[in-house]
Assembly symmetry: C2
Amino acid sequence: MDSSSPSPDASAAAVPITAHQPAIDLAAERARADFDPAAMHEYLLGGGPERVAAKKLAYTLIERDPVLNFFHSGGHHFDLDRPALREKTMAQIRRAIEIRQTLTDSPADQQLAQWLMVCMCELSESFSMRLFVSDALFARSFRMFGTPAQAREWVPRVLRWETIGCFGMTELGTSSNLRSIATTATFDKRSDAFIVHTPDLMATKVWIGAAGETATHTSCLCRVMLDGVDCGLHWIIVPLRDPESGRLLPGVTAGDIGAKAGRQGLDNGWLQFTHVRVPRTNMLSRWARVLPDGSFESGLASDDPARSQVSSQAAATLSYAGLIPERLEITRGVPMAVNQALTIAIRYAAYRRQGPTGNPPILDYVTVQAALLPSLALMHAVMAADGAVWDRWTRMEADPAELVKGLADMHALSAGIKAMVTWRGSDALELVRRSMGGHAYSKYNAVADAIADFGVMTTGGGDNYVMVQQTVRYLLGQVRKVAKGGKVDKESSVGYLNNLAEVHASLDKPPTHISNWSDLDSLHGHLVRLVVAKTASLAADLQSAAADTGASQADAWNAHLLTVCDLAQLHTATYLSRAFCTRVRTAPVALRPVLHDLCQLYLLDTLARAGKDLMMTSTQWPAQLVHELEAQVVASMRKVRPRAVALVDAFGFPDFVLKSPLAAMDGNGYERYLNMMKSAPGQGFGGVPEYHGREIRPLTAPWTKLGAGNRM
Amino acid sequence: MDSSSPSPDASAAAVPITAHQPAIDLAAERARADFDPAAMHEYLLGGGPERVAAKKLAYTLIERDPVLNFFHSGGHHFDLDRPALREKTMAQIRRAIEIRQTLTDSPADQQLAQWLMVCMCELSESFSMRLFVSDALFARSFRMFGTPAQAREWVPRVLRWETIGCFGMTELGTSSNLRSIATTATFDKRSDAFIVHTPDLMATKVWIGAAGETATHTSCLCRVMLDGVDCGLHWIIVPLRDPESGRLLPGVTAGDIGAKAGRQGLDNGWLQFTHVRVPRTNMLSRWARVLPDGSFESGLASDDPARSQVSSQAAATLSYAGLIPERLEITRGVPMAVNQALTIAIRYAAYRRQGPTGNPPILDYVTVQAALLPSLALMHAVMAADGAVWDRWTRMEADPAELVKGLADMHALSAGIKAMVTWRGSDALELVRRSMGGHAYSKYNAVADAIADFGVMTTGGGDNYVMVQQTVRYLLGQVRKVAKGGKVDKESSVGYLNNLAEVHASLDKPPTHISNWSDLDSLHGHLVRLVVAKTASLAADLQSAAADTGASQADAWNAHLLTVCDLAQLHTATYLSRAFCTRVRTAPVALRPVLHDLCQLYLLDTLARAGKDLMMTSTQWPAQLVHELEAQVVASMRKVRPRAVALVDAFGFPDFVLKSPLAAMDGNGYERYLNMMKSAPGQGFGGVPEYHGREIRPLTAPWTKLGAGNRM
């Protein structure tokens, strides 16, 4: 990369690149790829050509539809302000739901319905969140916490959006700790109803998606009070707005949260209740219920088919499983956003040059590769893990016995994945931005809004700083169990602990030369050994802190929180790596070398990031070997580099989804980009700004009467 | 920090915190500080009580002024859209310039004028950039590149804003390399004028601040052509708009860049010229000029007072010094933004609890401390370095001989500082956001916009990936010079190289126990040794890459770019550390312990981040010592923790500058925050959204005629 400041020879003439060069460059990149991006696309969609065709049809449906797509007269949709984006997003929802209603029960139609929603979520993060809140969070609260009868009664209406729901959990004073939820639901026997009440300012429900303008109902987390006795937290359905007029119901106070960093199309809101009366039957009663006589009963209801399989005690635990799918959904959203950003940045880097045509495209620079290619490998690892973890969760949801058995592991795993993947996703987007120079600062290249929309992911749905602690507490517990001779489930996230002793023994081995850096199992083994060593060292440190200094357990834990953060992410990496390695073995043969090299990059990069830890925990890793590891990362990026454009092509995002002129499939980006500027609303193209007479002319032409008129 | 997901005992009642608790908490924090924040404030302002009073007066002037301040009926200023922010920012500029004109030449008035602008820059990043473009970049182009006569003619008009300038450097095709600047200025002898021309799309000037709506002139970087001969790049003043009507002049095409990630109040624009004729005398001619006969002359003009001191060759180099102050100004903007964000995050973390009152404020958690306190220490280091580097630059600007002597060092240093400080600043803001949980995602707490505004800093004004290479190339050159027996200027950024041999010898010493982790000189010494070792190892690697593998120099350099990034930042850290250590020695005695502990945290954190490098480059740093180093960082944060609130108080930002209810000085943040939501425009408080009938009712009340009417 050349100097940005002119050195003396900067005066020498050079042949500047033309606006046509990018198309030539992208074509050359595609010509040299050694695999078929269409085959990779089909593989990533997880099915045969009929899935590809169905997704393509969904894209076409959206692209042509004036409500679903972002047609916008007088400028680009990135110029829409908050009110316009609110209406647009709700219109997209309305249209998508209407289309979904017209589709039949046929498998083809059902697949189209599914892809329609997925593609709309790719198109708009605000759409995605609006859909998520009602279709996933709210509807799922009936399935998870409601009786089968409650689910049958409500869910169909919710899926038709006759009932628009929101998830009334967080309060101003709760932070990440639900123990301080203060909204009360006091049972009134006489009227067979709960009286829902917000006692003070701090109990205001805040950040509730769809509560600001649209939701007709909320599933509200309340402290249930029976005759003055606190019976704990339960979900109660509270109607908010009249479905016909949209007006708030009596006793309900609600408003919009106002300006946010991103996701302007979603109406996050706040809620207060003043003695709002709702029927007793609005309490979601799968795991506990209040009887008409005011008595409290816990455990599965007598008519629940799963009752025979789940003990009453397990039932109490299961009632908190509802946050797991929320975390997994958040994780799923990360590649959806990051893969688009990588497509934009990689296409641009493949033709952008620092200066004249003779210079290489910046994607040839190791700094740019390091900003983009490890993230590309990471996203493949995330997609692999996403597939594996949802497979398992789907099995668990279908079988209460499985659910009870796997819950603790899934709870810890989903927390770790949520934290690690959203932190890394956030970093990946910032690296995309930095790799693109100034043009990523324009909203028109889509990355600025992607970053703004993403921002909430690391703290929303469970603050990452809290998530990592859940993961590591579980991990430490499992290590104790195995150390005492216990076994862990091989399928679980800590399956590797079954070889604990063996792994431990290997840590003190003398440094061995790694002859084959391409052996994924060997690299995975190094990662596992690192996690085991770090876990053991954390356990020892915690114990000695208590023993040596008499620190309380809480203080010792606090002093080691930074290690906890690192360890949770490394442990999660073993899960991603395992899932990715499985994919490398099971993918169509033609794709295996490509996936192998991505998986290798993922593993090498993960190990290199932990280079210090490797050296500090094992004699196997002297400085020289870490040095070599770092060189291997560079070599591995060099292998992935020639496939980079084909790999992002394989994600299959159409131009109208990416919305970034510089990333246009055909490479004709510069002209599109400038045209977009020219069509910007307001003073986009040469006009005199409306405020000229008031604010500019008084300075630039102080002699004019008008300019010097009466003003402050 | 407690679990975010409800564990079984989550059902137990707990005493929730009240909205009054934050005020009590902040008062307690302030009571336990062991130093006087007012004294620290005075010290940071760099003068006596009269400077404090002048800045306070400037704040008062701004707070009371309806144009300067962000009064906004019907909502908060974070709700203003782009057109409104454009006008508001220009109105603020107009008002501030008018006030500046009314101030006299007295020292008191001049100090007020200066603080007025500084405080406005603190209040608004868009104001800051609008001011910077004309008052700094454009005006400075006359001082740096113009003859004394040109400066006398233009600068006063620029400072009155009768002439509003913009800096026409970047083109769509230039990226960070000015060699491909393609705008031409062809001299036409007959009319004694240049014909300025944009040959094609890629030569369009883009991202030019103030070009979109306001600038009347641009200093335009053009390739000067004399009789078909390319005479290199020179600055030519091109009029853009009629100062009275604001209309574009003939041949000038310009428009607004449109939607950006942040800084909506600044009109970044694009420019194209079609045979625009400007007088020959509009070429800035300090270092080179075109004579009426069409001949080209380089070197200082004969009437330049510095001519006797500067050789013609040095003059050619000096003509590129103009980017140095730009980089230094960018660096200065970093603490301005980050210190505000730290004030917001630290105050909030000092009263926010995970759950009931018994829990500690989250600032007690090591993760939160690690997210905020090293950044606080870093900003003190940056402010120290900022003072030192401007002192030196001011001396250099005043004395051309000094300028020539120190230019190469200053060029490399300013590049390194710019890169390191903007990268770390960007990271610091993201950590602030993560530390604050969901409420940082609301624009009303000011952090979201701070991040959006800041985004451009890492790539604007010289892409950091390019900057670091300039620094390291210089560093390698200086090491070669010293290795051959040369000396470097002790005052320069590489002064530590004079002890090269000694430092080298120390690297292979056996590990020594560090008995006193509070000894700043010792820590600084470790940092210097690390930089020397890393530089030597990079030089060796580059050489052996060429020798062993026959890689070209460019390829070898490229393969080591990641090391170059790290090294440039570590080298820059030695400069920050030196400046900070000097402050610890020279500050008022009462403040020295406080600054000492911050400096210690800065050094420990810098070394700990480079823990892997320490182990890889020196036998002095075995794993156990790095382990100890990391524990020392935690211990050092614990020392700074009780002073954190007082330290951010000492920055002295008034509430109206911070604009963040949760950071209100008095701690009464929750109520203010909710009130801000209630006053959000549109559907802020319980109304029915305007689009309800069109987009919501068709779903929620499909039986209503109106809802099911004719629509798509």
